[in-house]
């Protein structure tokens, strides 16, 4: 029997929302923080959850929906526990992000929605996550960024999450951040050779944003 969910905020959650309301001159401006709290609580933003946010902030449901539906990080469908936002954008795409995405598709045996066979994971291609220097990267469940991904590091991360262990925060210490300028002069200008056209690529658009 399906568990019935009660769509109410606890007193603590209400107080948390009030704290956000107090930041803005207009109550409705707290809609994004309130949606974050609702998504944290219910796992995704069902119509009932959005209705609750609307009534809590005295605003029309349509406006709440209009906001929630705009952003990729708000889930408008029930989703598996761990989302992997794998960056295949700009830099990551050129630095192995596509291969990581393919690896994830295969190793998790995802369906056309990007959901893993065991129902615990969900993958999609992410746009730039502002960590291009450590690309390829991915973000787990709207939270942790995993840097310098390799297929092996991806698999290790999956293993940890199977045991519900979130990988630790990687501060990405600025270890390279200031080059001790190695006296390596720039080479003479050279003509770049034309690269021959690569083999045609079949683009799979599955498991992207709806």
């Amino acid at each position: 029997m399906a568990e019935s969910v009660v769509f109410e905020f606890t007193e603590a959650e209400k107080a948390e929302i009030q704290k956000h309301v107090a930041k803005y001159p207009d109550r409705k401006s707290a809609v994004m923080p309130a949606l974050w709290i609702a998504q944290e609580k219910f796992g995704w933003l069902s119509p009932e959850a959005m209705e609750l946010v609307a009534s809590t902030l005295d605003m029309p449901y349509a406006q709440v929906y209009g906001v929630a539906s705009f952003y990729t990080m708000y889930f408008k469908k029930k989703v598996p526990k761990y989302l992997f936002d794998i960056c295949t954008c700009f830099t990551c795409g050129e630095c192995g992000g596509d291969q990581i995405f393919k690896h994830a598709q295969n190793s998790l045996q995802v369906d056309e929605n990007g959901h893993s066979a065991d129902g615990k994971f969900w993958i999609r291609q992410a746009e730039c996550l502002a960590a291009c220097d450590t690309g390829p990267v991915m973000q787990i469940a709207n939270r942790r960024i995993v840097h310098n991904l390799t297929p092996a590091k991806f698999d290790q991360t999956v293993d940890m999450l199977r045991r519900d262990q979130m990988p630790a925060f990687e501060p990405v210490a600025p270890k390279y951040d200031q080059a001790s300028p190695a006296a390596k002069a720039a080479p003479e200008p050279e003509k770049v050779q034309e690269t021959p056209p690569p083999a045609p690529e079949v683009i799979s658009d599955s498991s992207e944003e709806e």
Binding site: R143, A186, Q193, T195
Partner: protein
């Protein structure tokens, strides 16, 4: 720029735990705020004038003089609130510098934002951070809490009578929210469609009130200007586009990262010295100088001595953007690269304007044909026509930001596109 090798970092100096307020204060932090608020030497106008004289050209992409922007604020009217919006959306592909400030020197930014609010007599500052910064949002909030605890924020700061609140707002994952008016709509709790301008934010900004918006790095420079003077600050780097800058280096190089150096760095120095050279000793093919919106540079241009400042990049039709350099080697497939850029903008277009909503989709469709070696000769003209219909015809600059890199790829790497056109023979019979 010969002496860049002796440059001493001021935005992200190598001081451990600088994100802790005690460490920051021990190293002279919040002294500039104290001087501005309590020494009696400064008033709002003189702070604005000093910042204007320094010529901090906005680090968010557009490169507009920050102090000049501040001076557009209308005179303060008692009882009418006014706001500072701090743009930490950092979603431009290839850009990852503001995160370094949030992580390693958040108090420099807080101090700068507070001085800016004093100069413009603001009632509150809102820091908009992209939702994907979840971990850094928590860390930055800690820094804000520390500043409140030490009386650097809140009521009657340092006994000066000046009050200020700084609020952190978490985004939901949408590139468009980095556009200034979209950011304001998002903060207000609306669907974040960019507004048509005019009216400009100084007249009609957050909640319809006078507002100024600046990038995080722009504001982090403010205490440095106050500390050492506009003259000192503007003597760093390229004269017409001065100052310290956080360069992002990513792509096919040995040492990607965030590097602080003066503006006007030679791109070859950035790649071969700072960045440790090309990965696997490959040859350079192209550089995107400042985020995905910038027109691309060819290896010839880069080796011709281009420097990272507006004037130098303008000579080849490009811009400094967010100074995040993406370096691409000879193996890069420029067709696929362009396709991925188009896909990004197609995903991120808010859909409000027809040329942008339809145009980004068409770019994806047509470029995909080339990726799959199904391009047709007429498509190349069609792509350029699309660029024409998108530039300068929309509510915000996202449409231009799509057209610029793609146009530059079509011009500079045309042969790669031509090589992906279905062979003439099969085309003729088709």
């Amino acid at each position: 720029m010969e002496n860049w090798r002796n440059y001493t970092k001021v935005l992200i100096p190598d001081i451990p735990n600088l994100n802790q307020i005690d460490v920051y204060q021990k190293n002279g932090g919040y002294e500039q705020l104290k001087e501005v608020l309590t020494s009696g030497k400064w008033n709002p106008k003189s702070v604005t004038d000093e910042v204007k004289a320094a010529n901090i050209r906005g680090r968010g992409g557009a490169g507009f003089n920050a102090g000049l922007k501040w001076s557009f604020m209308p005179p303060k009217v008692e009882g009418l609130p006014r706001y500072l919006a701090c743009n930490g959306d950092e979603s431009e592909p290839g850009t990852f510098k503001d995160r370094r400030i949030f992580m390693f020197n958040p108090h420099l930014f807080i101090e700068g934002a507070t001085i800016a609010c004093y100069a413009m007599q603001m009632d509150a500052a809102y820091v908009y951070m992209r939702g994907e910064f979840a971990d850094w949002i928590d860390k930055f909030q800690e820094a804000v809490d520390q500043a409140y605890a030490k009386g650097m924020l809140g009521k009657n700061i340092m006994g000066s009578g000046f009050d200020l609140d700084i609020f952190v707002h978490k985004g939901g994952g949408a590139y468009i929210c980095g556009e200034e008016t979209s950011l304001m709509e998002s903060l207000e709790g609306k669907r974040p469609y960019p507004r048509s301008k005019p009216p400009f934010p100084a007249q009609f900004g957050l909640w319809g009130k006078p507002t100024t918006i600046n990038n995080i790095e722009t504001l982090a420079n403010v205490p440095l200007v106050i500390k050492n003077g506009a003259k000192w600050w503007s003597s760093i780097g390229a004269p017409a586009h001065p100052g310290p800058v956080l360069y992002g280096l990513s792509g096919h190089i040995n040492r990607p990262g965030v590097y602080e150096y003066p503006t006007g760095m030679k791109i070859t120095d950035m790649i071969y010295e700072v960045g440790g050279g090309m990965r696997n000793n490959k040859k350079l093919k192209a550089v995107s100088p400042g985020g995905s919106s910038c027109p691309l540079l060819t290896a010839e241009m880069v080796h011709g001595g281009l420097t990272m400042d507006a004037d130098s990049l303008r000579t080849v039709g490009s811009v400094m953007g967010t100074s995040g350099l993406c370096v691409l080697d000879e193996d890069t497939d420029m067709v696929k690269f362009s396709y991925r850029i188009a896909k990004f903008y197609d995903h991120e277009s808010c859909g409000q304007c027809t040329p942008c909503r339809e145009g980004t989709g068409w770019f994806v469709k047509i470029l995909r044909k080339f990726v799959e070696n199904r391009g047709e000769t007429k498509d190349l003209d069609l792509l350029l026509e699309l660029c024409d219909t998108m530039e300068g015809r929309t509510v915000c600059a996202l449409a231009d930001a799509t057209a610029w890199p793609i146009r530059s790829a079509l011009i500079h790497f045309r042969s790669e596109f031509e090589a992906r056109i279905v062979s003439k023979a099969s085309f003729a019979t088709a």
